[in-house]
């Protein structure tokens, strides 16, 4: 028998550990510095665009709190647009988290899913799976907000 087949569970674990080290040796190293810099540039640029709109809404005599909502709406729209044009995934290939973290990234996940699952029908495909990627953000965002408000207002009386 070839000596690469493990003899038992323990042998497999041992080989797996050693192999893991071998794999780590050959794993291609991404240019971390460059990737971080690109993420910074992409993320910053997106927020920069957002800031332009934020300032615009402030100019239109909205209070800072009131200006937040339309700013986010615009960024969501831009994200959807860029996704539809097929450029948001290219942006992510360059900027990674810089494209994923802004709210436009959230909008991209919804639009991308909608576009893709349209093929399985509007109801069972697109309708059901639109939030397949973004779902966790909503679920845990709500859970966190709720919990912290509960603790702060009712348990701590603040």
């Amino acid at each position: 028998m070839s000596n690469l087949i493990p003899r038992d569970e323990e042998d497999q674990q041992r080989r797996a550990t050693r192999y893991g080290q071998l794999v780590a040796q050959y794993r291609p190293r991404p240019p971390i510095g460059r990737n971080l810099a690109l993420a910074f540039v992409v993320g910053g640029s997106i927020c920069f665009i957002g800031q332009i709109f934020y300032n615009l809404f402030l100019e239109l005599a909205l209070s800072p709190r009131e200006a937040a909502a339309p700013t986010l709406a615009v960024m969501i729209l831009l994200g959807a647009l860029a996704t539809g044009l097929g450029i948001y995934d290219e942006l992510a290939q360059i900027g990674g988290a810089g494209a994923a973290i802004p709210i436009s990234g959230f909008s991209n996940t919804v639009t991308a899913a909608a576009m893709d699952y349209k093929r399985e029908g509007f109801i069972l495909g697109m309708g059901a799976k639109m939030f397949i990627i973004a779902g966790p953000v909503l679920v845990y965002g709500i859970i966190t907000g709720f919990t912290i408000a509960l603790i702060r207002v009712f348990l701590l009386g603040m």
Binding site: A80, I101, M115, K118, I148
Partner: protein, 97 residues
Amino acid sequence: MLELTTWTPAQLLVSLTILGGILGGLGIYQPLVDFAGAGALIPVSGFGSAVATGAIVEAKRIGIIGLFTGPFEIVGLGVTAAVIFGFLMALVASPKE
């Protein structure tokens, strides 16, 4: 974080959202927004913070039900906008490789 850990992007986003929620709930996120404007609002942590502050404001105003209605000001905006724009885009565009 994506470079240094085995986190998937989804896990990163959820963590940032939770972080934003906690900071927002403690009132620490607002100064960041005052300082950085869109730079703090737009990342998903801004979303988390907005959900938390929404819940707090409403809870103080109308009691326990506020915990449930509060988050929905911002969640409502985000979800409705994403659904509407996403749907419209999907009608006219198809995935390209």
